[in-house]
């Protein structure tokens, strides 16, 4: 099967996944307790006002009509209006993407920068103190809930040592880079770095631990294969064997996991953003949940679902270029 056919198949699957998410979200909205109009208006709203709001929002229509209207809206890019702020949901989602993206990228960078060298060292120095240390770190990293880790980092580096702020995002990365390039001032960039360090460490720790373990086990497998012996016999330096041949082959499953784990990263971002008051999609989702702002909640989750499947299709494409055999599977 060609790469193009493979991608078309995966894209179609992705469309069905998104449709499933849209439908489940709509179903949850239908069965969740609490009348949205009452919740929008607060305690003690009059029946007349409630009826008026229900009619205004189309909540008095049969459920299938509401569903079809919603899906039709999504197809033309209309996610509706937030029940609370009366703003377009698309705008409310888009304005929060940079913050979440910054956090996800920073966490991934933290994970890759720490995990890959650690995994390589652990695999090449098996049963030595470095290996034991890396294994212990992985175990702790995977076992530690990130809401707890976040709070501990805030307590240690924010409250006790006063090195890092306890949360918020006073400046965005793009704005900070622009200030640096246009005005030669690094102040904004330093502020950004200062504020993102603890959230990125919190979100990236689980990821770091996971990739360390994957790198180690992948490297150990690969190092035992005949082609490694052959490359060594050819006289290639050890570092080239490790990083050019062995690590490259190890990267294939790591890349897959990296893609699949983006969902976990998004899920973790909801918690991390809440702990650090980081104004991304996760925090907005929690706010929407608290306010029972269903259009906003649905918009965010649909966006996350689209992002998730897109990343996975992209990873599959990358995987197929790294290992063409997957196209035939």
């Amino acid at each position: 099967m060609s790469i193009a056919k493979f991608l078309v198949r995966r894209t179609l699957q992705a469309v069905f996944v998104v449709w499933g998410v849209v439908t489940i979200m709509f179903g949850l909205r239908a069965v969740s307790p609490g009348d949205p109009a009452t919740l929008m208006l607060g305690e003690g709203a009059t029946a007349e006002t409630i009826a008026r709001v229900r009619a205004q929002e189309g909540l008095d229509e049969p459920i299938y009509v509401q569903y079809l209207d919603y899906v039709q809206g999504l197809l033309i890019g209309d996610f509706g209006y937030s029940w609370r702020s009366n703003r377009e949901v698309e705008a409310m989602v888009i304005e929060r993407i940079p913050a979440t993206l910054e956090l996800a990228i920073a966490a991934t960078v933290v994970a890759l920068v720490i995990a890959i060298p650690l995994g390589v060292v652990s695999a090449t120095r098996r049963n030595e103190p470095a290996d034991y240390g890396a294994t212990l770190f992985s175990l702790l990293g995977i076992s530690t809930p990130n809401f707890w880790l976040g709070l501990m980092l805030i307590l240690l580096f924010g409250v006790w040592l006063g090195i890092f702020p306890t949360g918020r995002r006073p400046v965005g990365l793009v704005e900070a880079i622009w200030t640096l390039v246009a005005f030669g001032s690094a102040g904004d960039l330093l502020t950004w770095l200062q504020h993102i360090t603890l959230p990125a460490l919190t979100l990236g720790t689980y990821f770091t631990a996971l990739i360390t373990r994957l790198t180690r086990s992948g490297m150990v497998d690969e190092l035992g294969k005949p082609y490694v012996t052959a490359t060594r016999a050819k006289g290639l330096p050890a570092v080239l064997v490790r990083y050019k041949h062995v690590l490259r082959n190890t990267m294939i499953p790591i890349l897959t996991v990296l893609g699949l784990q983006m969902g976990t990263l998004m899920g973790g971002a909801v918690i991390t953003e809440t702990v650090f008051n980081w104004p991304g999609l996760g925090l907005r989702l929690i706010d929407a949940l608290d306010a029972r702002d269903w259009p906003l909640m649905q918009g965010i989750i649909v966006f996350i679902a689209v992002a998730f499947v897109t990343i996975n299709v992209f990873v599959d494409a990358l995987y197929s270029s790294l290992d063409p055999r997957v196209n035939d599977e």
Binding site: F164, T197, V239
Partner: protein, 527 residues
Amino acid sequence: MSQGSGFDLRRRDVLKATGVAGVSMAGLAGCLGEEAPDELTITLSQFPDTIDPLDHITGDYFDVLDHIYEPLFDFEPGDGIFPRVVEETEILGGGVTELQLRDDVVFHNGDDMTAEDVAWTINRTVDNDIGVASDIGAFGLGSITGAEAMDDTTVEISYSGAPGLAEFEFGNYARAMNRDWSIENHDADQEGESISGADPEDFNGTGPYEVVEFTSGEEVVLERFDDYWGEEPPFERVVFNSDGESSGRVSSLETGETDVTINILPEDVNTVQNADNVEIRRVTSFRNIFLPMKNTVEPFDSQEFRQAMNYAVDNAGIVDSVLSGFGEARGQPVAPGINGFNSDIEPYEQDIGMAESLVEDSGYGGIEIELTVPQGRYLNDAAVGETAADQIDQLDNVNCEANIVDFGVVSDANSAGVDPDVIEIPFYMIGWGTITGDTDYGVQGFFSQDAETRSFDDEELSDAIAESQSIEDPDERRAQLEEVNRIAHEKAPFVFLHTQESIYGVREDIQWDPREDETVYVWGMNQ
């Protein structure tokens, strides 16, 4: 030296350098991040998700928006209504009161404020056909029917109730929006349209502060409005942000990232008290917590049974144990400081023997009931509800279990009315803040037979409320409202629990006393 070890050395160097650079940059950034001395940061628990000054009814919104769209009157909890933008009022009779406005008030965009603006804003609040269906109109200005501008500085307000009731309502909830600006920029006269947007220019009030920066859902930065008609407010710059977690708000306070935070949970109080340069300030709020019992279904149709539930619950003990003392036991629907609060009424005291005897008298001995309790809405609500249910369950002749649910379930139950065919949850926990400062707001929706959402159906209580709404003399009206509270205590439509305390974390050098109505006004502070 092998190439491999050479690589290791370089990698270590890079890692070391990165670490050192990171810490140095963070330290440098910390120095750059110091805030100016004439700036105040207030961290709320919820950031306003609507910028329309009429599309809300809760405290966090007033905290932010009242600095931009100032109230027409000053309301001092316990003391009443005082002139502000309105200089004088005169009751004209026939359900009309005249307001005389200041003539030197300007909007942040430079337009003069006129009586037309005030009248239009009041009409937009109470008339659902103009702009957004306003929560303030539905609950705050319930008796106000409309307003009309008579000249540039005179407005006549019409109402259907007593002048005293109307004064409490417009005294608390009347604001001024710029009519022409609102219509031209936001179609705010169209049905369902609210003021919305994500720019500082989307705000335009007459308050002492104007918006200079706005990040929707995150932060709003205010600066003194140079052309403000009144006294200069105490801080040049005020930042409002929010953190949904009490522990997060406390951390921000400890590290100096914020100066005032609201809604500190009892379990976080010690952390603030042990931190340097900050302290806890507290005040008994206007928010009462209680357990309504719908008297159109068994066993709550028996007054003896309802009174028994009140005797079964140790509300003073709950305040001490579950709320760590941050509350006051209560025996009537409203809190002290509210017009009509009856100071002769004491809370029911726990008396198990009396409770069991009253249950027997009611004929419902051996009954099983369920108490539905929300989680996360009020101060330690689930724990309060579970404790109350457990205390009722300890009666020999009643079995009671708590059912912890999402707040939406309880909210629906509260507005479901008293038709026995539709009641699914007859016994639940709810909280009510009587923010107008008048008993009517705390009882009308629960007990008046005109209110479809009432939770208690009783002619005597409903008639007493109706009578209070028609009395014009303020002293007579207050006496009648005290009578309403006495009847409510006796008929026990609720298990009366407590009045919740508002707990704030504040920088020590800020002079400020928290208000009972839960609003935070910067103009009431000093440093």
